[in-house]
Symmetry: C2
DNA sequence: AAAAAATGTTGACATGCGCAACATGAGAAT
DNA sequence: ATTCTCATGTTGCGCATGTCAACATTTTTT
């Protein structure tokens, strides 16, 4: 007779949606502790299940972290689309994307690091497909803003422009990615100035790109690795 | 009488320089496995000492990793100074710095991630002082190249130029940092094209900076956090 | 030479990962 | 409806790790 609470309330043997519960707990712990080194057992405890229940949903810790990372990508993609929702000017849209991107990272460093920190990259195969999707959504947003004239002039999204567009995206992305991580690692700061910094760098970048968009060398991809 | 080998050879009770041996082993394991999740015990095994010997040199795993990271910063700084050794033109010097930086990261992703991945950032205090030093060496290199005219015109390293110079450095650093990590995470690639990509981005960046250097907002630092 | 400090070793404990065997309950097959 | 089956949850285990405490061996100081 396992009766924990004083009331007659009794948790059913089956949780109902343990998968989400575990991922949710992981997100919570991650954002509290800002540390990837929590234990699966801790998550199980939080979800109120036994220490091994999670293994019915995730082969191992790595797989759980991959799921968490995927949610992170979804969140980030959503923040970016939300931020552009009410904007028309391509320039404004691009700026909003930049802000949302950096902001997303700075507001939850541990999650951002999990997403981009190569907990997954290191080993064998590739990243979970959901990450590809989010990355592609994000890329689509950028392509749209750029081809609509965010760099001062429209650049139609045609084949002969791909290398130019990819060059612009790479410039943008690596600049924002770098800024985010430097902020997160407190190698520049303070991060309260995030918005201003983003603005400055973005502005400088746009001025630069307006004059000269670096063309991507042949054979280079921008975005998640091509499916084989 | 603990005699392990068949010969009369006997390792002395004291290792001699276990500190370096452990750090060395860590660097080796790190670059083999590309994974920060090796165990202290494994390092001890490699160094041929008992599983607890490392604790006489490092308070805990974190401290060991900090030491490894510090070596990483020294290596990177050295690669950059070496790369500029025989160059005079400020522009060439800057390009060489960029190549060396990205190359250093791509050639040992796990080390680079350890250095910048905030294994240290997360917790309480700051990073070990040696990292500050290396970061400042690197910054000095950049300041020198920039003030000598890497952006097309000399910008004397005076107080009224600090915000401009810091702006340029932030642009440069975050761009290279971002590119490095995107390459490392295989979100752009392939990394064999590293050199060309670096060149393209750098060129675009320089053109941009030549026209308009983003000024750093007041109250922002670039480089490791100011000592309190 | 004796005392103190540094460095290595052994053993122990708590915690975590992940396996295997078992328990429980929900839905399919009859 | 009853039974079978399978997904899901539980308990208990083996093994590895981080780290502490107690002890051993050198080296350094005094």
């Amino acid at each position: 007779m396992t009766q924990h609470s004083s009331t007659t309330e009794q948790r059913p043997y089956h949780h109902g949606d343990l998968h989400s519960a575990i991922v949710g707990a992981a997100l919570a712990v991650l954002s509290e502790s800002q540390n990837t080194e929590f234990s699966l057992r801790e998550l199980a405890r939080r979800a109120g299940v036994s220490h091994n229940a999670p293994y019915k949903h995730f082969a191992d810790k790595r797989e759980l972290l991959a799921a968490v990372s995927a949610v992170g990508f979804e969140l980030l993609a959503k923040q970016m689309t939300d931020a552009t929702k009410d904007l028309d000017s391509p320039h404004e849209r691009l700026a909003a994307i930049a802000r949302a991107y950096v902001c997303g990272g700075v507001n939850n460093p541990a999650l951002y690091r999990l997403m981009f920190g190569g907990y997954l990259t290191g080993q064998d195969d590739g990243r979970p497909p959901i990450e590809r999707t989010a990355a592609e959504d994000m890329k689509a947003l950028l392509v749209e803003a750029i081809s609509n004239g965010a760099l001062g002039r429209p650049i139609p999204n045609t084949t002969e422009n791909t290398r130019e567009i990819d060059g612009a995206i790479l410039t943008f992305w690596s600049q924002m990615h770098g800024l985010t991580l430097l902020l997160v690692d407190r190698l520049v700061g303070p991060s309260e100035k995030m918005a201003e910094l983003t603005e400055s760098l973005l502005q400088g970048m746009l001025d630069g790109l307006a004059n000269c968009i670096p063309a991507i060398p042949a054979g280079v991809w921008v975005g998640p690795p091509l499916a084989k």
